[in-house]
Amino acid sequence: MSDYSAWDWGVGSRTVADLTECDCDVEWREENQASPDGEQVGAVVKTGEGEFSVCVNGSCWEPRYERIWYLRYSPDGRLAGLANDQGDWTMCVDGEQWEESFGFLFNTMFSKDGSVIACCVADSMTYGMVVDGVAWENLYANANNFHLSADGKKSAAVVQTIPLGQAEVFKFKDGIFSVAVDGEAWDVNFVNAWSPRFSADNSSVAAQVRLNLFDYTIVVDGKPWNAIFNQVWEPLFHPKSKSVVAPVRLSGKWGMAQDGKVIWQPSFFQTWQQQFSPSGDKLAAIVCPEYGRWTLAVDGKPWNTTFGDMVMDMTFSPDGKRLAALGKQDGKWTVFADDKPWGGQYDMCFAPVFSPDSKHVAARVEKKGKFTIAVDGKDYGQGFDQCFDPTFSPDGSKVLIRAIADGKYMRIVEPVAKIIG
């Protein structure tokens, strides 16, 4: 992320752009995207017959394309869209396109700080990744489960290394899939592989694999764990070591394994989306402790607050002491943190965000078609037609609200104390 202490944190509200205005002819405007600092709002616009551009704060990008899609701001505030001109695809970033063009581009990804922009490429029936405009040297007959390391320096995908004809089920069972890192495939194949993930230092990659039709395990740098499970989910490296954890299923129940050894005895009907606290001293996951009831578990111990519909977006606080997630019950969403749900219920909630000092939790919420943000369970007074995720100031005392009402995009900075009263 760009240095966000330099953003305008002066309390107040200002209109950044009138969305009905643009310096080019606009037939229609697609979904709005707001920059992380709130100073820009962009959208794909149709500017003519089969002609599209991007309008940012009332001003159009110069190039015109036959199609632009998946327009997103990178965490460092650059706006990137996948663009097609006469059958050639490129990434257009702030109106400047990559030098090279490709057969087809999709699935844009950003490094954590936004400095690296990557996406997937399909060219002449071969597949791989493009990082900052440079494609993998080796492309594959098929690739999927694409992944970019947090710093954007490494990329990985599941790749098909052996051709497969129609209905060749026995060949398939011999293993035709592997994992490629920066385009280099491991020298082993598996029946299936999914969700490659990097270690914190990028030196290792772990993935889920199926060894035959029913034995699952985790593989690290091409070497499977010794233990075999009835099912596994995505692996995760410890933030400070090479240790890997993954949810595993044994005798019909889910638990957690670390480096092949069970660390949470299988007792849940489901366990997934595990995360380490930033220092790595705690491990939490979304679990189903009782059939049809969902909650979080920390180090294998489930919380008491459960939800019947769904739990998602588990988030650790920066200090690792607090944990929040979304819970849905009877069709209504809420945020729950530290085993306590907020009082309010919403038609939709977005991923919870902690303040840098870990004291507050905020989320974008929706009620009766109006959007706003809520902090520690208290709604911001005004409802909007659209709203983006809130961002806390570096000292945690203010919150940036990016919102659209009556065709105008606004940037609001509000003291947290005023919202939570």
Binding site: F104, N144, N192, F214, W294, M312, K328
Partner: protein
């Protein structure tokens, strides 16, 4: 009685070469002891061998009441024998059991309505399939489909870009007719995620077109994902690979959750509905789908009743309606479907039997997916369906399910019926008001 024909299938034959008596015994007992539980026991203890379920089954009726094709006959040839012999059955027996469970039962659950004890034969057939999966003797073609699911998260080996490309292409086509129409990809916070089955981007893109046109003209706030997770279909459910079923359904629901939609609307498919509404969500720990799932039939009904789509012209030709098991017996959508049909088709003729008593198309339950080796047998096993269709005297049959289309098409062909099949969305698209069309 006609001689029983045992069909050679490469998947079954080559898989069976690797079987040993020990592996068969161990696998059967492991599934029956650890996975089947009390339900199977109760069924086996309750069944009075009365045969009342026989009359329910289109296989039995179409095959001149051959008891080997009756529901209870299928159980006798498979799971009872396995229980009786405590898993000590031969490879030959297992090969035949696969044919029975995987290709001679559509898991349509018609028979359960006829059994005084509500015994679910389909459940027992699914246990046989689970055993076959673990013994790796699943028929070739459906196994290939399950492999596609595992490797691409869709039914048809559709690669990540091919899906997006199909949507871009349909959007371009649609703009010739509806210049402002969109297929919004990855629109976070849309009301609806629309999901389809693998064959749509591959062979039946016009269905995506029609659905998109309906969404646009009805003014829906909708989206489609540009990532795997767009496919709601599930042949792993029918090969007994419940782990893979769970993996597919997790991705489907997490994709909808990532897009922050309020509901998933799915196209006209029966088995996919069963997978997202009943079996797939439950295997993951969700009693009900975590994000509500609305089948196309119900969605059309909502649109019509909310006045979001209006009838511009009537489809005058007489039509009949085939009730797909999975959304009628499985979800009770028959009346809503009829209301929509009647709104557009004034000359609607019921087939008999109908609604929850309708005969299956003989394609469902993964049977059509077992491919060419079993095609003749499948079509022969649904003579009653042909007779039922013919008796309506109409030339258009609306079948709101992909598999039903496949199965009925084969029956229409084999029994030389002068009949055309339609999806309901096709008729709606043709006959609704399109205020934005040029």
């Amino acid at each position: 009685m006609k001689e029983r024909v045992w069909i050679k299938d490469e998947g079954i034959e080559r898989g069976a070469e690797k079987l040993t008596p020990e592996r068969i015994e161990k696998t059967i007992n492991q599934v029956l002891d650890n996975e089947a539980g009390s339900r199977l026991k109760a069924y086996v203890e309750t069944c009075a061998h009365c045969g009342l379920c026989s009359e329910a089954c289109h296989f039995y009726l179409s095959r001149d009441r051959d008891p080997r094709f009756s529901p209870v006959g299928k159980v006798k040839q498979t799971i009872w024998e396995m229980l009786d012999k405590k898993g000590k059955v031969s490879t030959e027996f297992m090969k035949q059991a696969v044919q029975v469970a995987q290709t001679e039962c559509n898991m349509c659950r018609r028979c359960v309505q006829y059994c005084p004890f509500g015994i679910d034969i389909a459940y027992m057939m699914s246990l046989v399939r689970r055993i076959s999966h673990k013994l790796e003797i699943t028929p070739l073609y459906i196994q290939d489909t399950a492999h596609s699911h595992s490797a691409t998260m869709n039914q048809m080996w559709v690669k990540d870009d091919e899906w997006i490309d199909a949507l871009h292409w349909q959007e371009d086509e649609m703009r010739e007719e509806l210049p402002n129409a969109r297929i919004p990809l990855e629109k976070e916070g849309a009301e609806i995620m629309y999901s389809v089955i693998g064959p749509e981007p591959k062979f039946r893109t016009q269905l995506i077109y029609q659905a998109a046109a309906i969404m646009n003209e009805a003014g829906m706030d909708w989206t489609m994902p540009a990532t795997p997770g767009w496919d709601n279909s599930d042949m792993a459910m029918y090969t007994g690979d419940s782990e893979m079923m769970g993996r597919l359904k997790r991705l489907h629901f997490e994709t909808a959750a990532r897009l922050r939609v309020k509901k998933i609307v799915m196209g006209e498919c029966g088995h996919a509905f069963r997978s997202v509404y009943d079996t797939g969500n439950r295997v993951l720990g969700w009693r009900m789908p975590p994000i509500p799932v609305v089948h196309a039939l119900e969605f059309y009904w909502d649109l019509l009743n909310e006045g979001k789509i209006k009838v511009a012209k009537l489809f005058e030709e007489p039509v009949t309606f085939h009730d797909p098991c999975n959304v009628v017996r499985g979800r009770g959508l028959h009346e809503k479907a009829r209301e929509v049909v009647r709104a557009f088709c004034p000359n609607f003729i019921e087939m008999t039997p109908n609604r929850e008593h309708n005969y299956c198309c003989a394609a469902g339950g993964g049977v059509i997916n077992c491919g060419p080796p079993f095609k003749n047998s499948r079509v022969e096993s649904n003579r009653v369906k042909a007779e039922q269709l013919q008796a309506t005297g109409v030339k258009v049959c609306i079948a709101p399910c992909h598999n039903c289309h496949g199965g009925l098409e084969d029956i229409i062909h084999k029994y030389k019926l002068d009949m055309q099949l339609k999806f309901l969305g096709e008729i709606i698209y043709d006959c609704m008001e399109k205020p934005n069309a040029v």
